[in-house]
């Protein structure tokens, strides 16, 4: 199910592109914000939760998910180089699964790790806040990667759609329309964080059992469907 060569090509492509700069910028920004907040406001559980929930989980994790998820396959389909993977006796689901693993790894590295560092800076993991949000980031990384990898497989405008989902749906609708929160990776991952953190510091609109089912379901279905789409990928785009 996992092909080391596909993985190597994927992460080198992912980290070698200019787009990858955002992968470094956002975590640096998060840690900088954490340092500034700690310096001016001191250690405060509510403030820490606000920064991690409002910036790390609501903005940074989905954005990094978009870049890693769509970037793991989209550019290869765009420039046609995916033909060198497809013209091989390698199962299509193996290609997708491998790319998912790479996208998940990159998203976790650039979102969960900075979240943990920022959390420790903000209040030294008081009320388990740093660990709770880190777990949320880890869980969300998996679902976002699968979702955006699928998007990269089916659409040439994956980045745009991904950004619309991440910023408009998750951030805007999620905060304005209560029903939209049920269908939000962010809320599902916060539901996991809610169990870990101290009372009332992390809240989610979705119960843990439902959130777990939805997280697992979205990841599995998106990955399976991306594999199917890749099996039927038509490369004669320029005619």
């Amino acid at each position: 199910m996992y092909d080391p060569t596909v993985a190597r090509l994927t992460y080198r492509a992912l980290l070698g592109r200019r787009r990858a700069a955002i992968l470094f910028v956002l975590p640096v920004l998060l840690v900088a914000i954490a340092v500034a907040v700690r310096a001016f406001a001191g250690a405060d559980d509510q403030v820490a939760s606000g920064v991690l929930g409002g910036f790390a989980i609501a903005t940074m994790v989905p954005l990094i998910g978009v870049i890693a998820g769509t970037g793991a396959i989209g550019p290869e389909i765009d420039d046609g180089s995916i033909v060198y993977l497809l013209a091989k006796p390698v199962k299509r689901p193996t290609i997708i699964f491998t790319k998912l693993i790479v996208a998940v790894g990159v998203t976790m590295l650039f979102s969960a790790l900075p979240t943990l560092i920022a959390g420790l800076v903000l209040n030294g993991n008081g009320g388990q806040i740093a660990v709770a949000y880190t777990i949320a980031a880890l869980v969300a990384s998996i679902a976002y990667s699968a979702l955006f990898l699928l998007l990269g497989t089916v659409s040439r405008h994956a980045v745009v759609f991904g950004l619309v989902y991440a910023l408009v749906w998750e951030a805007l609708f999620g905060s304005l329309v209560p029903g939209a929160r049920t269908l939000s990776v962010q809320q599902w991952s916060l539901s996991v964080a809610e169990k870990v953190a101290g009372d009332g510091l992390v809240t989610s609109d979705v119960g843990l059992p439902l959130a777990t089912v939805l997280l697992a379901g979205v990841t599995v279905v998106a990955t399976w469907y991306a594999g199917q789409k890749l099996r039927a990928l038509k490369l004669a785009g320029e005619e």
């Binding site: 765009d78 180089s81 033909v83 497809l86 013209a87 006796p89 039927a232 038509k234 004669a236």
Partner: protein, 303 residues
């Protein structure tokens, strides 16, 4: 012995028919797929390569369906026309990755790079390669698993004459070894130099198939049309019409020129200057009016 069989295959995109009820069989040796740009050559190659499903009909490799069957790539090597090819890798890294995807190692990659004579630049990034070098590395990536079928889409595009000759030698060798080599081209001379067997595609249809010389004869023996202007059009027309190589002459008053239809190409081309000189007529314009490849091809379709 590996044969690709295309059986009453059509492919359309929306309501555009790119390939229209084509049947052909591509066996060992070098086959040229000839046709003007936009004729459907790439669509046909993409179907043979398993990158595109036929809308109707079947495309098979020794009897097994190619579409949605990744095991065919053990036998098929593909050199795509598009340039995208992991430019951030070196040539060697690229070919090694291709070898690994076939379950092979560095030795197979080194051999393929030696075959295309790219060892000297194998440690440079692909992004620094010229068109011809990229083409050769693509070729190495297609040869790495020693395939019995090689499909090449417009492999000579953008190559200089020397690179072209090298690649032709290589493909000839592959064909002589008993591999099934199919390449597409819209340039008659390329196909003539390399392929003994050609398949002609025009406007999505299979226009001709067979020995190159036979098809070449069909192409040169067809009636040729010329537009001729001279110092004395009427005298020239009178002198030419007597010869059997000329089938018809029309005096075009608005263009102030002669429209001549010649049936014997070879004879007419020597006759025209001779007649002009003997009668003291100066030739001002001699221009073939239907020499475009498209018109040659459409003549073939009609024939």
């Amino acid at each position: 012995m590996t044969t690709i069989e295309i059986d009453h295959t059509s492919r359309w995109f929306g309501n555009v028919v790119a390939v229209n009820d084509v049947s052909m069989s591509v066996g060992p040796g070098v086959t040229g797929l000839l046709g003007p740009n936009g004729a459907g050559k790439s669509t046909l190659i993409n179907m043979m390569a398993g990158f595109l499903a036929p809308s109707t009909g079947k495309v098979t490799l020794d009897g097994t369906q190619i579409w949605r069957n990744e095991s065919v790539y053990k036998a098929i090597g593909i050199v795509p026309e598009r340039e995208g090819m992991y430019d951030f890798l070196t040539g060697r890294e690229f070919v090694v990755a291709n070898a690994e995807l076939h379950g092979l190692g560095d030795a197979a990659a080194a051999k393929a790079l030696a075959t295309v004579e790219m060892e000297y630049a194998q440690d440079r990034k692909i992004s620094t390669y010229s068109k011809g070098m990229r083409q050769r590395v693509k070729m190495a990536s297609a040869l790495v698993h020693d395939p019995s079928v090689l499909l090449l889409d417009e492999p000579f595009n953008g190559m200089d004459p020397r690179q072209r000759m090298q690649l032709m030698d290589l493909l000839r060798r592959m064909g002589a070894e008993g591999r099934t080599v199919l390449f597409s081209s819209h340039i008659l001379e390329e196909v003539e130099q390399l392929a003994s067997h050609i398949e002609v595609i025009v406007a999505g249809r299979h226009a001709a198939s067979g020995d190159f010389r036979k098809i070449r004869r069909l192409m040169t023996d067809r009636p040729h049309r010329y537009l001729v202007r001279s110092s004395d059009d009427r005298a020239l027309a009178a002198a030419l019409i007597a010869d059997p190589s000329t089938a018809g002459i029309e005096v075009d008053v608005t263009e102030r020129a002669l429209r001549i239809q010649a049936v014997d190409f070879g004879r007419f081309t020597t006759l025209l200057p001779k007649v002009a000189r003997e009668n003291g007529i100066r030739l001002l314009t001699v221009s073939p009016s239907d020499e475009s490849l498209e018109s040659v091809f459409s003549y073939l379709v009609a024939a």
